[in-house]
Symmetry: C2
């Protein structure tokens, strides 16, 4: 977990030093690619950096727009989707299914399940620890007979900041 998150909450404080988030995410990505002998090409790195531009999920076509900023040519959809597939495969980003959008992974160092808190007002998405849920998951495996391989949780509601604003 990045150390510059709000001490009172797992949500990033609106005033936090976000450049530090971006930098540490890119550093982690370079390390992971080195370890797994994968190439973090310019396109892939740029897409990852743009995704880390905020703590809000961003769609593939918004990424295309962002990539086009200051460039002569727009890239075509397959270029972005290939980068996204690569980053997803390595666990550097997650897909938020309810939004058709993508967000940086807080801790790509190991594979893990995908638990997110998503603010319905400002779109902030915060990854959270699946740990506390695993007892219930074990019980469910037993009961259901399913061999559960993947867990995708999306909690929707108001983030601490938007709650204050709405009072």
């Amino acid at each position: 977990m990045p150390s510059n998150l709000d001490a009172q909450s797992i949500a990033p404080h609106p005033d936090h030093d976000h450049q530090a988030c971006i930098d540490s995410a890119l550093a982690a990505a370079r390390e992971l690619c080195r370890d797994k002998q994968q190439k973090l090409t310019k396109t892939r790195e740029k897409v990852l950096q743009l995704i880390w531009g905020s703590h809000r999920p961003i769609g593939a076509y918004s990424l295309m727009d962002a990539l086009a900023e200051g460039e002569q040519k727009r890239v075509a959809p397959p270029t972005v989707y290939r980068a996204l597939d690569f980053l997803l495969e390595l666990g550097l980003i997650h897909r938020i299914n309810s939004l058709n959008a993508y967000i940086g992974c807080q801790d790509p160092s190991h594979e893990h399940h995908c638990y997110f808190l998503i603010c319905t007002s400002c779109n902030l998405a915060v990854e959270t620890d699946p740990g506390p849920f695993q007892a219930a998951v074990s019980q469910l495996k037993q009961q259901s007979g399913f061999a559960i391989r993947q867990q995708n949780m999306e909690f929707n509601g108001l983030c601490p900041h938007c709650r204050e604003l709405s009072e």
Copy 2:
């Protein structure tokens, strides 16, 4: 919960009497619409019935195809999406975000969170009780400061039947 599910598991047995599932789902829908003073029109009922045609999520365009069977004219997308919106609103169906598909709700009598086990092999989707997860959710609310309003869980893996086949 329908009574004709596999006694050993919350997953419906491949050989279960599925017509009973359809019938009870439609009966429950009629009752709910009466209670809420909503109209279960022909289109809406037909869509619900088609969704209950299996325990597998079905996409909007597959529903359009199914609606067209034996008819002279195809309905246009808005017709299906309006019916889906109505059924979603009333809680008669759920949307499986990871599949862009829709499935009947096992228990529409009260609002509830959306927890599903989904077989990656045969697409079987089984709704499950959020109860065992709520202690962890409470803890998460405290910790995160989020006002969680909605929970969407999708577990992916192999259903009991496909596990046997894959051995």
